[in-house]
Each structure stands twice: as C-alpha cells, then as structure tokens.
C-alpha cells in the first residue's frame, strides 16, 4: 500500500514538473550550481528578518566573493526543516534571535563545533556555547520602561518587585507564546528555581493591567495611553520607536523612562542573536568566515547603529543612544539555561494562566 502511494506521488511530481519546470528551472539550477571547484557560496537559514542583515550579507559578498543564499523563516519551523533534511541539508549556518533556540538546535545534534582565533577574539566567552557549537552575534536586554509622570525610578528595583501589591493593575507585558518571555522566565528558573519562578509568574499575572496582547511596542503605547504604568520590553524596540517615521510613536517613546532592573541583585536579563554551523554543512569554511565577518567591529557597529542592538564584540563602541541608556549589569547565567528551561517555563505560564 505504502509503495503504491509513493508511486502515485512520483507520478504527480512528474506531472507537476511538466507544468512548473520552465519557471522552476532557473531557480533550481541556481542552487544546483556549485559544481565548480571551490564553493563560493554559503547557505543561511535565518530567523532574523532585518533589512540591515541583508546589507551586511551583500557587503560580505563584495568583500569575499562568497554569495550568501538565504531562507528566512521562523526559528522553530526552520529548525524542524533542518532536522528533517538531515545529512542532506543544504543549510550551512542557522541564525536566530534567541539563545534558547540555539541550545535546542545543539541539543538536537544539528550543530557542529567550530573554532577560530578570530571568533574567540571577537566574541566574549560567555556569549559562546561551551562546546563552541554556536556563537552570539548581538545582545538584547529585556528591561522595564515606565511612565515618567506616574513612576519615579526610585520606586523600581527588580523584576521580582513587580509582583508587589503596589503594582496591582499597572503592569504590562506581552503574551506567553512569545519566546522573549519564555526565555525571561527560563532565566529565573535557572537563578531562583522553579518554585520561585512560578511565584513570580503568578504574581505578575495578578498585577497585569490587562490581558496580554500585541507585541513589545504595543506595551509601550499602552503606557502612554494610561492603561498601565510599567512594561517589560526589549531595548531595541524602544530604539526603533524613538527613530520611527511616525511622529506619534516618537512622542510615545520620549515620554517613557527606561530602567535596567536587578542591578543590585542578579542582573538584567539578556538574550542573544546567534548562529551555529550546521552539522553536515558543505561550506563550513565559508560559514565560519561569515560568522567572523558578522562579529567583526564593522558589522557589529552596523547592528548597533541600524537596529539598536548591543554589540557583542567588546572592542566596538556602542552608539550614542545605547550609551545614553547607560551601562548595566547583566544576568550571570549560562545562556544555554534559556534552552534547558524553556519547556518548564511554558508549563508554568499555562499553570498560572499567563495568556
């Protein structure tokens, strides 16, 4: 029976290729092309969608002559695709905006260890995987923003303090399907244990100004609208709003204060964008070159300038805007913990009713 179905499938494909081929031809011949000697390509699966990334790839191509082929998608789906393609995968590098997903890729055996002096020099050790399976490329901090008129920075201290009664009905944050929130809770599980983390999540839910909705930017707007007084969001969204084409968004962003929590205690939650070389990569050297390029000062400066992310490379000076927000103490946990605790955090969110 199964054989018959397969036979039927082949038949349909022949049919399909008959009508789809002339157009599809150009495309597939392009990806079949690297028959000639030294490969001048690197195939990237990326879950980052910024225009600035494309500019960097173009620049990389100009400098090295290596063409960057792209499939952009969502992290989980791309990982699933690599997993199913197995050894035959065309992917050389997987890039995503969450350390938890990087960990999962490593855990599923999709990455290989790579090392290079340049990478070690450009990327601090705590932003590399312990087995050198993946490397961080940009940093993002998940901070608090507040209404400057109703809240003074002196009232603020830690993420944990947001569960106190005084914040009842004043706290804004997006939904739990969002991976930034999952990683935030995962970091608390790592630091304080599951019990405490669950208490925190339950306390947050009790203090919500409204059921979670929208993205990070929407939380900022909700403060301006007076729905709540304090929100948790990623820093670069605030940067984007400050530089928005829409004057109303700029006004909102300017009315907000930014606060880096847990400075006296465990540090502010940071996550990374990062990438790893796929296990069965056929263009491994090119993939490493691309990693080196992206962590080099020039690309790092571009990330900070155009996308308001914190550079991972210490030698790069951050931009005026990032500097104006000040230096801050970061959480000191292995980033892989964001991955190991991811499932636990989802279960906790469900249990405490964080939508």
């Amino acid at each position: 029976m199964k054989k018959m179905l397969y036979a039927a499938l082949v038949l349909m494909l022949l049919l399909l290729s008959a009508c789809g081929n002339q157009e599809a031809g150009n495309e597939s011949s392009e990806s079949d092309a690297p028959e000639d000697t030294e490969s001048k390509e690197v195939n990237l699966y990326t879950a980052r969608h910024y225009d600035v990334d494309d500019q960097l790839y173009k620049k990389f191509e100009e400098e090295t002559g290596i063409k960057v082929n792209l499939i952009k998608g969502e992290a989980d789906e791309l990982l699933e695709r690599i997993k199913r393609e197995g050894d035959a995968t065309e992917a050389d590098l997987f890039l995503t905006a969450d350390a938890g997903r990087l960990f999962r890729a490593k855990d599923d055996g999709l990455f290989q260890a790579v090392s290079s002096d340049l990478l070690d020099e450009q990327i601090p050790e705590n932003f590399q995987d312990t087995d050198q399976m993946w490397y961080g490329l940009t940093k993002r901090a998940r901070v608090m923003v507040y209404n400057k008129e109703t809240v003074t920075p002196e009232e603020l201290s830690t993420y944990e303090a947001l569960t106190e009664d005084k914040w009842k009905g004043r706290v804004l944050i997006r939904g739990s399907e969002n991976v930034y929130n999952q990683s935030l809770l995962a970091s608390f599980i790592e630091i304080d244990g599951e019990e405490k983390a669950k208490e925190w999540a339950a306390g947050m839910v009790a203090n919500f100004a409204r059921d979670p909705e929208g993205g990070d930017r929407d939380q900022a707007k909700a403060i301006a609208a007076g729905v709540g007084d304090i929100a948790i969001m990623n820093t670069y969204y605030l940067g984007q709003m400050l530089n928005s084409e829409d004057p109303e968004e700029v006004k909102v962003a300017e009315s907000l204060g930014i606060f880096f929590p847990n400075q006296e205690t465990t540090g502010t939650h940071v996550n990374v964008s990062g990438a790893g070389v796929v296990k069965s990569s056929k263009n491994k050297d090119n993939a490493i070159k691309l990693l080196e390029f992206l962590s080099a000062p020039e690309a790092q400066g571009t990330f900070a300038e155009a996308n308001y992310e914190y550079p991972i490379n210490d030698s790069v000076e951050s931009t005026e805007l990032l500097k104006s927000w000040g230096e801050f103490k970061e959480q000191d946990i292995p980033l892989s913990a964001l991955g190991t605790n991811n499932s636990k955090s989802i279960l906790i969110f469900n249990e405490v009713g964080w939508k």
């Binding site: 494909l13 969608h49 952009k72 035959a88 829409d246 909102v252 989802i346």
Partner: protein
C-alpha cells in the same frame, strides 16, 4: 461500451490518485489520534485545553454567523433590487477578500491604537483624552470583527452568483404569487441557497481555524495556539499531532453535517436558459439605506485599511529597499498562477469523479481531500518537507544516474512549495468547482452520453462550457489565497526566493507594520485587479 469503460478508468483512476496524494500528508496526522496520551497532554487538558477549545468555538461560531448575515443580506439585496451604486458594489464587495486578515488585523490596530489616527486626532484636535479600552481591538470581539469583515466575501460571492442566476424562476414565482420580500427571503431564498451559504461559510470556518497570524498578534489563545505550544514550545510532536488530529476530527464532523444539511435536494438548472432575476427599483430612504449599508461594509473591509496603508507607504517611502519589488511581484504571481491552475485541473477531475461513480463513498472521498485546509499551515509544511525528503531519498539512485552532486533535488526546488500550495488550497478550488457541478447536475451530461458521446468528449463539449463561471471564480479565489499565504511560503521556499507575502511577514514579525505597507498594498492591488478582471469576464458572459 468498450470505449466508455476505458474512459471511466482514465478519469476515475486519475481522480483516485489525486485524492490519495492530497490526503497523504494528512495521513500522518490522522494516525496521531491513536497514539497514547502522555503527561503533556494531561497538562494541556488540565490547564488550558478547554479554554482554548471554547475560545475557538466562540470565534468560529460568531464569525460564521456574522459572515452569513452580512454575506447573504448583501447578496440578496444585490440580486433582487436596483439602487444607486448597485453595479459598483456588486463587484466591489468582493474586494475585502484581497486583504489578508492578519494585515487587516495589524492595520486596524494601527488605526485605533494610542498613536493611531483616531486617538491622535481626538487628543490633539479636540483635546480629548479617551479611555483607551474603548479603542482596544486586540481581543476576542476584535478578532471576530477582523475575520468577519475580511472573509464575508466567501459567502457573498457564492450566494450572489447562485441567487442572481440560478434561482430566478423560483423567486419570481414567489413574487408572482404575492409573497412580500421578507417572506420570499425566509421561505424561498434561505432554503434554496442553503447549499451555497454553507459552502461559503465552511470556507470561512476552515480559514478561521487554521489562521494563526491574527490570534497570535491579538493575544487570543485558540486551539491552534495549543498545537504550536506543544510542538515548538514543549518539543512534543506527538501531542501536537494528536491535537491537530482532534481538530481534523472536528472538521470531518462539520463536513458531515454540511452534507447532511445539503440532503438529497438538488437545485440544478432546470432549463438551458438561465435568466437573471428582474430587479425591483428601490427609491427614497430604502434605496439610501441599502446603498449606505453596502458602502459601510465596503469601507470597513477595503477603503479604510487601504487608505491607512497608503498613508504608511507615504510615511516610510524611501526608508526600505524597494529595488527588488518587481521580482517579488513576479515570484508571487508565478507560484500562485501555477498552483491555482493545477488545483483547478485537479478539482475538475475529482469533482467529476463524484458524478461518475455512484454510492456514498464516492461522495465522501473528495471531501476528505480538503481536510488539509483545517490544519495550521506550519503543520502541513513540516509534513510536506518530510514527504519530499523521503521522496528525494527514494529517488537518490536516479539523481546519481543523472550525475547530480546533491541528494536533495525536489525538496530544494519550487516544486515542493507549489505541491504544498496544492495540498492546502485544493479545498478552495474544489468547493467552487463542486458547486458548479452541483448546479449543472447530470441531466445534460446524461443526454450527451445517451447520444453516444464519450465521457471525455462530453466533459469538454457539455460540462466545461457550463462550468466556465465556476472555473474562473475558483481560479481567482485560489490565486488570491496563495498570494496572501505565509507559513508554507516561508518554510518551503528555495534559497533566495522572496514573494510579496514573505516581505510583508518579514516586517510585520518585527512589529514594523508601517514598513510592511508597501508589499501589502501590492498584494492587495494584484488581488483587486484579478477580481476586477474576473468580474468583467463574468459580465461579458451571455446569460
């Protein structure tokens, strides 16, 4: 006899193969029902499942009820009456279909939120600080509004064509016998258009069930949320597939009910001359309110979001790279065009199967092949990847013989993406073709066969000309749906292949909705253009 037997074989054989292919990826999902439950299932069941299920049910039932009310009432008014702007509204009311619901969701939120035009104007022009919760659209009623206003054309289109062409004699008879408009509506129109209403509404329901974009952004947890949460969040594919399988079970149930409701009643053409219904002229306040109603729906579903998108395009013009937009347009049109063509051909073959073979199974089988439409795109996508990689492995010796230096050929080509579109959107094309077949019935075909023509000849000479309308409308709807499609395109595309919808996703997923407006407008523009072309074509058709 010998000859016709051979023909039956060709038609039925290809129909069975097509149905098997369409159903194949779903097979893995249906199998999931029988796997034992684990602790994640227990967790879901204890904490969230019932709230997800009830939210989904409310969403589906409310959207279905509202799309039917709006779609049917508009179809009835257009089919029965003459009033100002009728000829414009007749086709313009289909236009909301050109806006992908999730773009609509982002756009409406953009209009009503704190920095949006409404609140800003109130604040700055009139100095009014309004309660922001009045303008909060990101909730269950908001999502119902979004789905209704952008999906009602499914019901409207199908019902209007039915009412204005097919039922004229029945409605006229009712009028002649002295029934008023209300009684005619409830006693004649409603019962006879049941089939098209249910056909349109079931598309709406399936679309709402498989959509993830709107509910995710609005923070509404539905059944789809549960599928994604268990799969990607908990890494538990088994439970996730079990959930998807339950969803499919529900859809099968709905489809059965639909069949049951259709019953044995057939309202096929009783004469070769299908006359349009003579229109009743409306005047005064009646005319004004009917025109007003049409315009309000039209504005909500099309003008308002489009104007907002144009505003954003102007605001962000020059800030995003646009050199390659023509390539995206070409790619979008190409894949949508190819897939839609194949779908219609397949639907014609499968639809004919239901008429060639008798018995209950023959009626049910084609229905099963549309199951794919109920499952979230990402789930279908992964099933398709798995199937194609398996296929590539099987074909590896062939590739070697042809001296390819790679083992993945089909799964890195556009063929994979196009096949996935076909599996997913077959339902839409089939629905249109099937109702076309229903409408023409079997009388003319039987006559042709009796006069000695073969099935194939009959099909091209008799069936095809009568199906023209259904073929074109089916093609256009599938084409537009594929233009708007996101999850399959994202995951299954080959390297460096971008379409307009992947561009929209790229910006929207980073909360840059203003930057997404250019590509959104192009999708809407192309869709609207094809609707207009379609309309012109239908108009020229001799009635």
């Amino acid at each position: 006899m010998q000859r016709s037997l051979k023909n039956i074989n060709v038609w039925t054989f290809s129909a069975v193969i097509i149905m098997a292919l369409l159903f194949l990826p779903n097979l893995t999902i249906v199998g999931g029902i029988f796997t034992p439950t684990n602790e994640n299932w227990a967790h879901m069941k204890e904490h969230v499942l019932w709230s997800f299920v009830s939210t989904s049910l409310i969403l589906v039932v409310a959207t279905a009820a509202l799309t039917i009310s709006i779609g049917l009432s508009l179809a009835w008014l257009i089919a029965q009456y003459q009033f100002p702007l009728r000829n414009f509204l007749k086709w313009a009311l289909i236009l909301p279909l050109s806006i992908p619901p999730f773009i609509g969701a982002y756009t409406y939120h953009g209009i009503v939120n704190y920095t949006g035009v409404i609140q800003t104007t109130l604040r700055e022009r009139f100095g009014m600080e309004v309660n922001p919760s009045y303008f909060d659209i990101m909730n269950l009623p908001g999502a119902i509004f979004i789905y209704t206003i952008f999906l009602y054309p499914y019901v409207y289109t199908i019902t209007r064509i039915f009412l204005s062409q097919q039922s004229a004699s029945l409605i006229e008879t009712s009028r002649v016998l002295g029934k008023g408009p209300w009684r005619t509506f409830f006693h004649v129109v409603l019962p006879i258009s049941r089939v098209s209403i249910i056909g349109g509404a079931s598309l709406v329901v399936l679309e709402v069930l498989n959509d993830y974009g709107v509910v995710k952004y609005y923070g509404i947890q539905t059944f789809t949320t549960a599928i994604f949460q268990t799969w990607f969040g908990l890494g538990d594919i088994e439970t996730s597939i079990k959930l998807a399988a339950s969803l499919m079970g529900f859809v099968i149930l709905v489809l059965m009910i639909e069949k049951l409701l259709r019953g044995r009643r057939q309202y096929s053409y009783s004469t070769t001359k299908v006359r349009p219904l003579p229109l009743i002229q409306l005047t005064g306040w009646k005319a004004a309110s009917v025109t007003g109603f049409g315009l309000v729906i039209m504005s909500l579903g099309f003008f308002i979001p489009v104007i907002q998108l144009i505003d954003w395009t102007i605001l962000t013009f020059g800030t995003i790279p646009m050199e390659e937009f023509m390539v995206y347009v070409k790619n979008s049109v190409m894949v949508a065009g190819i897939a839609a063509t194949v779908i219609i051909v397949f639907a014609l073959i499968v639809g004919n199967f239901g008429r060639l073979v008798h018995g209950k199974m023959a009626k049910l089988l084609p229905r099963l092949s549309i199951l794919g439409y109920s499952i979230p795109g990402a789930v279908i996508a992964v099933a398709v990847v798995t199937a194609f990689i398996g296929l590539d492995r099987t074909l590896a010796p062939v590739y070697q013989a042809l001296e390819f230096d790679t083992t993945l050929v089909l799964s890195v080509s556009l063929i994979m993406l196009i096949s996935a579109y076909i599996i997913r959107f077959f339902a839409i094309g089939f629905n249109s073709i099937e109702s076309g077949y229903d409408k023409i019935g079997t009388n003319f075909r039987d006559a042709s066969r009796l006069l000695g023509m073969g099935i194939t000849k009959t099909f091209f000479k008799v069936d095809m000309p009568m199906l023209k309308g259904a073929i074109i409308s089916g093609f256009i709807i599938v084409f537009i749906d594929i233009l708007k499609e996101i999850p399959l395109t994202l995951i299954l595309r080959p390297f460096n292949f971008d379409t307009l919808s992947t561009k929209v996703f790229q910006y929207a997923s980073d909360e840059k909705i203003m930057e997404a407006s250019q590509a959104s407008l192009l999708i809407i523009g192309i869709s609207a253009l094809s609707i207009i072309v379609f309309y012109k074509f239908i108009e020229k058709e001799p009635k």
